[in-house]
Each structure stands twice: as C-alpha cells, then as structure tokens.
Symmetry: D3
Subunit: 236 residues, 6 copies
C-alpha cells in the first residue's frame, strides 16, 4: 500500500535553506515522480549558519545553494527573507506566508513540528499552521485571492529524531540519490561538520533516513505525523 | 451528582462571536439557572468570517448577533475589539482582559484549549491563562482594583472534538433549546455552511453535544478539563 | 490522496460479533472494492450480550448474525469461540489466533486499541499484537507453516470515540450503506438500544462515522492509528 | 462549587487493608456526611506486609485493623481474601468482585490507578475496571442479579503522588481528623515506618493530603481522575 | 550513584528573584560544594509581587534580597531587568540572555518548565531554550564571542509540583539549611503568605523538597527533566 | 558530568539471550569498568528464534552464546528457562525472578520498557517491575532472605528506538568494542539478518548506538528512562 501524490500540490515550509533536504526531500522527490507539483518555502536567510571558517556573503551563498537543490528536485522556490533567529509567529509574517500559499495553492503542506530543537523551526511550525487556516479565509486579504479550502498539514521529523513519535512513514528508497545530491548543494553547511556547535550533516541525514527505513521495513524512509484538526485533517 | 453553579460568577473567554455558543453555551445556561452570574468576553470582532455571499459591515453585524445571543442567555457581554487573525498574547492584550476580569470578577473562567484549531483560539487561551493569574496581582495596575484571588479556569472542547481528551462533562440536556437558539442568532456564520473553507455550524453543534452526551450517559453534554495549576485549581 | 488496498489481505480482529461493523466495516468494504481479500476474526461468542428481552441460544443467533454480515461484505469469517468476558492474552489463545493468521495470511490487521472500554477488547488488542509478531516466527509451531513476514497493524477507534486520538482517517463515504446493512444483521444487539446497560447501536454508529467524517472533511470516515513498532510499521 | 454525594453509593476498591485510608478516606467521609452509603472492598489479605518486628497472625490482625477503620467511617466492608502479591485480573477474581458490586450496588467506584507502584494495585485497577462493566451485563451470572447500569469510576492518587496527574480534587478539610484516626487503626503497618523497604505512613499521608490541598487552595484534599469511557463517564 | 558537578558551570535562569530558591537552590548549593561555578540569572525585577502591606521601592528591595541570597550561595548574579508580567520570548530579550550566557559560559542551564503556572515562567523557559542554542552560534553577534558549544538544559519543577513529571531527582539533603536561609532573604515575599492571591512560601518549599525527597528515598530532593534535543542532551 | 557506577550491583533483566547486547551491554561494560558487579538475567530460552537455515538444539546453542557474551563482560548469568513466547507476569514467574534478585542483590535493575515490540519483552518488563518491589518484602518467602530495600529500576530503549522517549543517555563510547564482540557471540541470530521476519542485528545495533550517541553529543550511547515510583526512584 503506497500513498500516491498524483494531482497533489505539495509545499514544504522550512526555516532554513537546508532543512527540506534533511526532513522531506525524499518525499518531495517521490511526490514529484508521482506527478505532483512541488514547492519549497524557505522562511529564513540562513545568515547565521556561519561556519568556523567564515563564509562571506553567507545569505547570497545559501540562496544559491537552495536554488541549486530546488533545481535538482524541480521545485518552485519561495523565500521568506527573515533573518535567522528572529522568526516569530506574527501578523506580518503570517501575511507573507499566506500570500505564498495563495500563489502556489498547496493541497498538502509539510512543516516543522513543534517539538523541534530550534526556535526558528518552532516559529515556522506555528506560521505554517496559522497560514494553513487563514489562506482559505476570504476575510484575510492579500494580493492573491483566498484559496478554496485549507491544505492538509503534516508535521516533519526532528533533527536527530529527538522526541518525535512518527504517525506514519513515507518510503523514499528510490529517491535517496536525489536527496543526497540535494544536501550536497549546501556546501557552506557541510563544512560545519567538525564545529562543536554543529554536526556532520551528511552522516546525520544518512543515519536518520536509514533508521526511519529500518523502523518501517524499507531501505530508507521519512517520518511524519498528520495534523488532525479542523479542515487540515484528511480521509485517505 | 451534579455540579451546582449557585453563587459562581462564570465568564467565558472566547475568540470569536459564535464560539461561546459552540463550546459552552449549555453550561452557561445551566449555571445561570443555578443562580450564577454570567459573562461572555468576545476577544475578536469576527471581521474575517466573511461568507462567500459577502456581508457588508460584518463587524457590526456580528456584534449584533452576539448581543442577541447574550440577551437570550442573560449574560453580560465584553468585547476585546481585536481584529480576527491578529490576536496574540501580548502585554496590551493582557491588560485589556485583566481589566475585564476585574470588572466582572469571575470565580470561574471557561476558555479555549491550547489544542484548538485556530490561532486566535490559542492566543485567547494564553491570554485567559495569563489574565487568570494577573487579575489578582495588585502589582498589575489597571483602572479597577485587583481581584481578591484568581478564578478557577476550565479548558473548553475543540471544534469537532479534534484532539480534546475530556476531563469531565457538564449535562446540558435541559439547555439544548437555548444553546440552539443562541447559535441561530449568528446568521452571518450559518450561511457559510456550504462554503468549502467552513462547515455547517448547526449540524456540527448538534453532533458535538449529542456525542459528548452519549459519551457521558445523557442527552447532551459539553466537555471540559480543569487547568490544575497554582491558584486556578479547585477542590470540589 | 487515497490509500489503495489492492493486493492487500485485510483481517479485522475483534472481540464480539458486531464490533467489526462499528469500527472498521467501511474500511473493509472499501478495501474489498479495491480488490483486497477480507477476513473478520471474531474472538468471542457474544454469549453474554443478552438483551433485557432474553434471546434463547444467543451464541448460535449471534453466529448467524455475524455470518450474514460477513456475507454482505464478502469476507471470510473466523471464530475464536471464546466465552464473553473471559478473553485473556494467554498462550493457548495466542496459538489459536496465530493459526488463523497463518491460514488467512493477512498483510494488514485491524484490531481494537488498548484504550478501549471493554476488557475483551483490550485482551483482543494484546492478542492481535502478539499474533502479529509470532505468526511469522518459524519457532512457533502451529498446524500451518509460519508466514513470510509480520502483517502491518492498525488500531481501531473506540466505542463512542472516547479517549482515541486518530492518527489518520479512511474515507468510507461510498460504503456507508453496506456498513449500515451489516449492522442491521445484528438484531439481537439492536434491541438492546433502550437497556440501561447498553446504547442504541444504530445511532451510535451513525454519529461516529459522521463525526469522524466531519473531522476529516468527508461525508463519513473511520479513524485509525498505525502501530509503529518493529516489523509492523510500514512505509507508504 | 462543591460536589454533593447525597444519594450516591460509593465503593472504594483497594488492594490492601490500609490503602483506602491513604487515597480516599477523606472523600468517603465527606460522601458519608453528605448522606451517601459507603463501602470499602479490600481485595487482598495484607498477609505479606510483614514488619521487621514480626507480627503473628498478620492476616487476622490486619482484618481487625480494617474493620476498626471501617467502623469509624460507617462503611460496609468487603474482603476479597486474595493473598498479597498474587492478585491478577482473571475470570474468577472478576466474578468475585462483580458479585460484591451487585450486593452493594455502587453508583461510584474509587479504584487504584494503573500508574500505581504496586502490582496488586494495578491488578485491582484492572479488576475494578472490568467489574464496573460486567456488573451490569445480565449475561454475566453470579448469585445476585445484574445491576441496572454500570457505576461511575474514578482513579485514585498514587502513593507519594508519583506520576499521577490529577483531573480534579475533593476538599477533605473537614475530614482530616477521621482520615487520620482511620490510619491510626493500622498499627501493624505504622510500625514499619523505619523499615528500609517501607515508609512512615503517617507522615506520607499528612504530606500528601496537605500537598494536594495546597495545589487546590484548601487545607487538605484528595486527587482523582474520572475514567472517561463508555457507560462509566458521567455528566455532572 | 551521585551526579558530580565538579568542573561544571551551572546557571539557573529564573523569572523572579525568589524562583531559584524554590526550584533549584539545593542543587546549586550541591554543585557549588562539588566545585562547580554557579550563576543565577533573574530575568524580571519582581516589581509586581506587591504584598497587601505595600512595600515601597519593591524593585530595589527585591534586588537586595536576591543579592543577599546569591551571596549565601556564592553565586554570580545576572539581572534581566524586565518588568514583571511583560516577559516574552522576543529577539531583544534573547539577545540580552545570550550575552549573559556568553559571559558566564554555562555548561548546564536550569530553567523553568513550559508547564509552569506563570506566564513569565513560560517566557523564561522559551528564552532559556532559545539562548541555549543561539549562544554557540557565531552568526549571532553580541558583545562577547560565541560559546564553543551549547550547554545542557534541565527543566525545573513547578510551583506546588503541579503537572510536573520528574525525569530524575537531585539529593539536596545536605543543603536544606542553605536553601532555607536563602528563601529567608526574600522577606518581601514571605509576608505575602496570608494574602489570598499567594501562598506561604516557606511551607510550600518545605513540603515540596520533602515530598520530592520522599519520592526519591532521601530526606530532601529537587526534581528535574533533561531537555533531550539536539546539542542540549548529554550522555552521562 | 558522568554517572559513576562504583559500588553498584547492576542487573539487566532481559527476555532473550541477545537482548542485553542490543540495549544495555555498553552501560554494563561501563559499570563494570567503574567497579560495579554485573549480572544478566535471561528470562527465556531463545528456543523460538529459529533462523531459516534451521539450527539444531537451539536452546543449548543460545545458552552457550549467552554464556560466551557474559564471559566477555565478566557478568554473572541467570537463566529463567521460560519458553519463548510464553512469558507472562504470573506468580510463579515472579517468585523465580525474586529469588534471582535476592541472590544477586542488585542496587540497579535495567529492564525492557512496556512500549517494546515483543510480548516477551513486555512480560519481562512487568516481571522486573513486580520483582523490584517484592524482593524486599519479607512477607514474600523464597529460598533466600528478603533484600534490605528495593533496587532502582531503569527502562531500556526499544528495538529500533521505536516509540521510546529517552529520559537520559549513558555514554558508551569506550565500550563499543566490547558490546560489538558480545553481539558477535550470538551467531545463531546474526544469520537471521536476511530473513523477512527479522533484521540484520549488527547493523541495527550500530545504527542505534550511533544515533543515540549523535542525539547526546558522543560517539555512542544507550538511552534509558528512570522508573519514578515508590522506592525505585533515586536521588542522584
């Protein structure tokens, strides 16, 4: 039994330029292969993810890295342009994300879970939740018209799987290569692997998709939980 | 064994003009019948709950609808006047609610739960929690003097009962008629029943009070959880 | 996005003859329509579900009712023949269920959840969990050979939805008729609707599938949670 | 707002002769004062609660201690006569408890919670849960006829409050004296206060009722959670 | 088996001037005795903790009380200078705390838990969590250089132990005297003991450390939970 | 900050001959190195863990494998001799384990958690919990005298980390070699790596200790939760 993403419009809402790679790139690749339209919305610039060997123009560098990864995937890319470490669930931030939703018209949103380790991830989680409701409320005016109805919303796994109880798994065995290539685009972060304030991302990703796979009986998997509330829950 | 609300001063703190009807109107009616004083505080204007057939002057219309419903109940009505979708747990918002608490002097507050589906509901939940503590702190100055002690606080059910684990139930069998009439005042929202971004409220309310009733062995019920923290918990 | 049950072999493991109707008949009907093979295993005889108007030969009567319902569904029927109120998770009981698994070879098992209200339901839950592991262990000898690998396992909703937090929903809109007809076969239980120790089953079922539907944006639904443990979790 | 137990028939189901004193004697005393009928069912003999200074005939001694305490309270006393450390949720054990339920006809049962520290407490919890359903099932034959309908069921606090999240509190301020006198009847256990395998019960009880009281704004309280499942949940 | 704090740098991050005394002073005293460096960061002024007998210059008074208590402990003291009841998890508030972290360089942070009863406690919890990550991110510029790596983070017990499930306990038997003396410094709060909006702190503290001690088999203890997320979790 | 196991007597209570290797061998090795006495109690024979290439005399083979692993560790070995798949929490099973406790006199017991995937693991969990209380009750007679007081009890991680939320981690970086060698003794199970009803144990162990290590900032770790109930909780 496999979920089929054909006809869906899947949008990942992440805090930083390399988060989609870690938590949902395999699922996005699979959805793409099924015929879904894909978008990634990166809310923050990644401007504070500075390696010990300083990278000049980090914001621009990371934007290019994200663009390269999105190109590999064939995904439309949205940038929230918020500064790292400043993301909050405020009215202006919501409005910006609502407008991006209305432009892409997702039927399924993948977002950070509230248990995650980073304040920007948790703010992104709250923003995605808020926007997933307001995007369809015609009382909320933005440049684009309101969507017909709210998208479904799934919470993504955490860094290192800490504290995340999966509700279900998506088999990404056939998309490990693409996910890995996408991560490889983020060179500015991969060089942080030996810094004491960070971790080797490639190993972390490999361990995580393999562990989730082993838990679910496949080579590699990504884990999610459905957000079962009014108008965001779906019957499959 | 029935709870008796005689002598209580019960205040519902809700986000939008029709929320009290859905989640606690039966309990308010029962408390009223027991001899309690009742208030409803509606924090937002309801200005974004626009039906597909556009309603002009929606804020004014909804204010009248809320007033009509409160009249049926015999409840004092407070308006927070916040715009829909902008409610946050901030200092100014707290101060406004603290002052309303100090005017009405509730002994029991009914508020949205943090699991609820709508950002305004969650902000209302946080605000009610904050005000339930600060209202009795004489260091927090507002126009009215501090209350003697904090009120009890109960969390209300969610829309559609999604994700809410009841701690106890209130029998509202004798108050179904009034609750139903109160909802009927909210015509601007009832006409949204067929909109894809909303639901038929009358059916939703009927199903919910009947389901909660069936769970608790009566015709109709409303579900709550007590907020068991410092000074808000009570021994019955 | 719909789950497709084609090629699956779905087995519901329930305690009493009418439990499959209440909790998963719509899903079974949908899986059948997708081309899955269906079985229902009724662990207890239903011999204690005596209406106030006494039914003679209750065990035989209920067996016929279950058979009639299974015929409507096109499901293979297994009987555990345990007496009501005596079901426990013991070695003999496991062996019997393991053998039934090995005969039918399910790829997906639907079973009562541990939060359910009835001791037999909880014992059935433990038995299904145990059998879902042991059925594939060749060290566990029964008449039939061990299965190749363990089936997936989903927990079903509770009576009245009490205490059950859904992980996902299955749309049964097109199968409400069959589910309803199947329940109608259980006449010995429907006449208990006015007994103080029981409830009107038809209303209960209608409310439950409609509420789960309303929660998930469809006419009618059934709610489940995947059992995410070793060899029973799946990647979709 | 106070709960009123008038007209109720309250039965505490505990594992050992001094458990009712620790967890619910204040509530029983209050219910008695309200006009309720009270029973205590002690499932085990207390035969293994041997102090370091050995007590001869411990079973008989503890039976007398329990009887003395019940006399103070004015409660009917039932003995399960199971040996300490052997209590399980089995068919024979259920039948015995069902018959006691049918004799006393409780409308409210107070029982150990599943989080409690002692295997006998957990078995007592399961037995009370099972009997609270089966007592009203006329298919379950015992000497006495089936009850009309199942009683409500509340879970009691744990020893030391470890791991127990209260759902609500009962004010026992006026019944501290009686609760204390009742505990004083259990001399064979009070002398275990300095044994390394046990604790000073009087201090433990005093701390617990005072802490629960401080949490709930009264001098002394006992904490409970309602078991919100089919036919055992109530609307107050 | 005892934890040894030698070589650690322990920083308590609390909302109000007397919070460290209630929740972690015993642990700080023990860490100090083990040879750890200790700091207390008080985020708010305590300016709203006004007794019914009004204290003039409350902010200054409480600052002196906190300083006296810190002196007894031998702890470095940091003041956030926020007004009571206004603390939020904002960018400016984070920056201030990050700088304090970078000055003291904690290896272990003790902070309020999110379940706590007071909005300032919850804001302090979020701030400590955010700062525990950002303090080591060299992209986040403050006056002092970034720390090498994030500190460990433990959540402290709540007032009255309401809703807090301990993960482990720290034995403070040898430090009860100092903890008690430290609380005694907070005279402006001790005189609130009879106010209806507050509680007698000395009794509350005594009950709490004794109860936690009784739960953990020692005279007196404090309870904590480790925050098991990326870079804040530790292997002991 | 490291836990020091010096002077402890640590006993792992596991269901099958290779379970200690997977879940706690690193911690046992570290405790041994600290000077603790170590025991492993294997409750079942491992007689049903039959590879697809059948192993004759599987019980004897696995006993030898367990003995070889224990020898590497320097641990005393106890065998429960129960047949696989039949383990239950019964009176006779408890008595046998109580006697083993009384022989070894553990101060710390490591046991399977109740969330684990295998019925024998869950029964072992219940048995260890029961024996950890009864071992110190002098009313419970076995050949050896009662222990002075109950041991501490920690729950171990699950297979594949499914559903286990760690409370804390133990650094086993220096003991990876021994843990790996110990697993290598279990040749009868390692050859099941390609069977569809099982998994490659060596990879599974490597992934798990590395993932737990990455979560906790070390090369390799094992995860636990303390059982915080009466007399089994400890203050560190």
């Amino acid at each position: 039994m496999k979920l089929n993403f054909k006809g869906e419009r899947v949008m990942a809402v992440v805090a930083h330029p390399d988060d989609a790679e870690l938590f949902c790139a395999g699922t996005l690749a699979r959805a793409k292969a099924d015929g879904a339209a894909i978008a990634v919305c990166v809310l923050c610039r990644g401007d504070k993810g500075q390696p010990s060997q300083r990278v000049a123009n980090l914001t621009a560098v990371r934007r290019k890295e994200a663009a390269a990864a999105a190109r590999l995937l064939g995904a439309q890319l949205f940038f929230g342009e918020h500064r790292d470490g400043t993301l909050i669930d405020g009215v202006a931030q919501r409005r910006k994300l609502i407008e991006m939703f209305r432009k892409f018209k997702p039927t399924l949103v993948l977002a950070h879970t509230l248990e995650d380790y980073h304040p920007d991830h948790r703010a992104a989680s709250l923003l995605a939740e808020a926007a997933s409701w307001f995007c369809a409320a015609r009382g909320h005016k933005t440049r684009s018209p309101a969507m017909e109805s709210p998208p479904a919303l799934w919470w993504m796994d955490t860094v290192n799987m800490a504290g995340f109880l999966p509700g279900f798994y998506v088999d990404i065995t056939d998309h490990v290569g693409l996910k890995t290539q996408m991560l490889a685009c983020h060179r500015s972060q991969l060089i942080r692997g030996q810094d004491a304030d960070f971790s080797p991302l490639a190993e972390l990703m490999r361990l995580q998709m393999r562990t989730r796979g082993l838990q679910a009986g496949v080579e590699a998997a990504e884990a999610f939980r459905a957000h079962c509330v009014f108008k965001r829950a779906r019957a499959w």
